[in-house]
């Protein structure tokens, strides 16, 4: 079997904001086709890590390789076209557009389709994530619909790697279960998924492997069963004993 580079490889990645080190010298790899969970308490650096890898921030130090290719200094739009996609924890829809038009944007520019094929592509991914009302303005969409729209937008560029930043937050049990099924179906399409989540049952249900962050550093790595029993993980979440 020929050697295959990991889909994502991060080396000594550091992001500083002034004196604050949000991400501190992280090194890890993501294998093609896996579902990786990133967990950690608030302020651990999960969203910053997503922003640096998806290209919204330039790292202070370190390198990022996508499919073996150095993408450290590429802008977000270039990484999107290469196949790195993400959703936003604080949803950022384009308010003047309908739901379908929001999804079309990344089919048009992320995948480079023309208007007609982009519309078809957008319909297809909306259908895939279970969005039925696609021709409504964003302001009349429900929270669940907006979350699905975020995922659809991220999928419309046909990514190979997708970051899902807290897509389950604020959903009820039924909605969460539906979303878990959606993520599984995304993964079975051959898309590598990185899930950032606070809800542990979701992480347990979905992920093959988990990375635990605390104050910008990796404190544990491995299967959910393994990391969830580690004392440093428990203390990071519950606070240390006096």
């Amino acid at each position: 079997m020929p050697f295959e580079a990991p889909i994502l490889s991060v080396e000594n990645l550091t992001k500083r904001f002034g004196g604050l080190i949000a991400v501190n010298s992280l090194t890890f790899e993501v294998e093609r086709g896996e579902v990786l969970g990133i967990i950690g308490p608030n302020g651990a650096g999960k969203t910053t890590l997503t922003n640096v890898v998806s290209g919204l921030y330039t790292p202070s130090e370190g390198r990022i390789f996508f499919r073996g290719e150095d993408v450290t200094y590429l802008d977000a739009h270039q990484r999107c076209r290469l196949g790195i996609s993400r959703t936003f924890q604080l949803m950022r829809p384009i308010k003047e557009f309908t739901v379908l038009e929001n999804v079309m944007v990344s089919a048009l520019f992320g995948k480079g389709l023309d208007l007609k094929s982009a519309k078809e592509k957008a319909r297809e991914v909306c259908d895939f994530v279970g969005l039925k009302r696609v021709n409504i303005p964003v302001e009349s969409a429900t929270v669940l619909e907006l979350k699905k729209m975020e995922i659809a937008r991220a999928l419309a560029s046909d990514p190979e790697l997708i970051f899902l930043d807290e897509v389950m937050a604020g959903l009820n049990v039924d909605e969460t279960n539906e979303m878990i099924e959606t993520v599984k179906r995304i993964n079975s399409r051959g898309v590598t998924v990185i899930v950032i989540e606070h809800v542990m049952s979701v992480i347990k249900e979905l992920t093959h492997r988990v990375i635990v962050l605390d104050r910008g550093k990796i404190i544990a790595e491995g299967s959910y069963e393994k990391v969830s029993h580690k004392p440093e993980v428990i203390s990071a979440y519950l606070g240390e004993e006096e």
Binding site: S54, G55, L56, D75, A76, H77, Q78, C80, R81, S85, R86, F88, R92, P93, I94, K95, E96, F97, E101, M104, V105, S106, L108, F109, G110, K111, G112, D114, L115, A118, R153, S157
Partner: protein, 316 residues
């Protein structure tokens, strides 16, 4: 419905083209001026659709004017052709400057573009040998020997061309790109949009339009000076017209420039003294009481009736 629209558009074009045969030279001149401002307003609005407020309109207008007039004066270029040289020159300058200033946003971009127009004025005033300094330069004759009908047709076709470009912006992927950029640059980037490329593209295209209009205006009078080429009215009036008509559309600036342009002439006839005061008050009132312009208000009324119709339909 679509057929009706096409017939209506063709009708407007035909009536516009035949307009000089129905009216005398004075109304024709008024309409030519309205078309000049309409084109400038549309080009300003096209840039605004990307979220960037530009105050460089008069600057590129003046650059185009100088490029057109001076190439005719020194190189003997055909006046009609020189107008496009004016556009090309404005486009080249916009491309070079855009590389630097399109990294700026909001008020910083606005102030920089305003300052650029000031810099152009100072340069024109001081390059005495080339531009004639503060006195400017004069051609032996105006374009088409000053024939008002042909000058009107020239502006008419420039306006049609600008409306066409504006509609292309509204109907192709460009609309998706610039609307996304205006609403949220982070979403736009994350969806694969090359923001800088689109900003530069729109900046160059709109500056080229302003350069063409400036060239046409300079050739219309066969004269150029720093004060006439870079006059503030070529910046402020088009903006007022867009705000009155409604921004982010083709129709808004068109409606706004016709209403305000004709109104301004009418007021001048009614009140030879003090007409500008009334004009100013009307502009302020329009902006205050119709924040989305005349077009925005019409849309709101239409939407309300449409929603009511939909509710009725659903009830059945």
């Amino acid at each position: 419905m679509k057929k009706m629209g096409i017939i209506l558009i063709l009708l407007v074009i035909v009536v516009g083209f035949l307009f000089p045969f129905f009216v005398g030279p004075y109304p024709l001149h008024v309409v030519t001026t309205v078309l000049t401002y309409m084109t400038l307003g549309l080009s300003w609005d096209m840039m605004l659709r990307t979220g960037q407020l530009s105050f460089g309109t008069a600057g590129f207008f003046g650059l185009g004017g100088y490029a057109a007039l001076l190439t005719t004066l020194y190189l003997g270029v055909n006046p009609l052709l020189s107008i496009f040289i004016g556009g090309a020159f404005a486009a080249i300058v916009a491309f070079a400057l855009g590389y630097a200033i399109l990294r700026l946003r909001e008020i910083y971009f606005a102030i920089t573009t305003l300052a650029l127009a000031g810099v152009f004025t100072v340069i024109a005033r001081n390059l005495h040998d080339l531009t004639g300094g503060p006195e400017g330069k004069i051609l032996p004759s105006a374009i088409f020997n000053g024939d008002p009908t042909k000058i009107y047709w020239m502006m008419f076709f420039i306006s049609l061309g600008t409306i066409l470009v504006s509609e292309i912006f509204q109907r192709t992927r460009v609309r998706f790109a610039i609307t996304a950029i205006r609403n949220d640059e982070i979403t736009a980037r994350s969806s694969g949009i090359d923001i800088f490329k689109y900003l530069l593209f729109v900046f160059v295209v709109t500056s080229a339009i302003q350069g063409v209009v400036g060239g046409a205006y300079a050739q219309e009078y066969g004269f150029i000076s720093p004060e006439s080429a870079f006059a503030n009215s070529f910046l402020l009036l088009p903006i007022a017209m867009c705000l009155a008509g409604g921004i982010y559309s083709t129709l808004g600036p068109v409606i706004g420039s016709i209403i305000l342009g004709v109104l301004s002439e009418y007021l001048k006839l009614l009140f030879p003294y003090g007409h500008l005061i009334i004009y100013g008050v009307i502009i302020v009132a329009l902006v205050l009481f119709m924040p989305h312009g005349i077009l925005g208000m019409l849309k709101k009324v239409l939407k309300r009736t449409r929603v009511e119709a939909e509710v009725n339909e659903n009830a059945i």
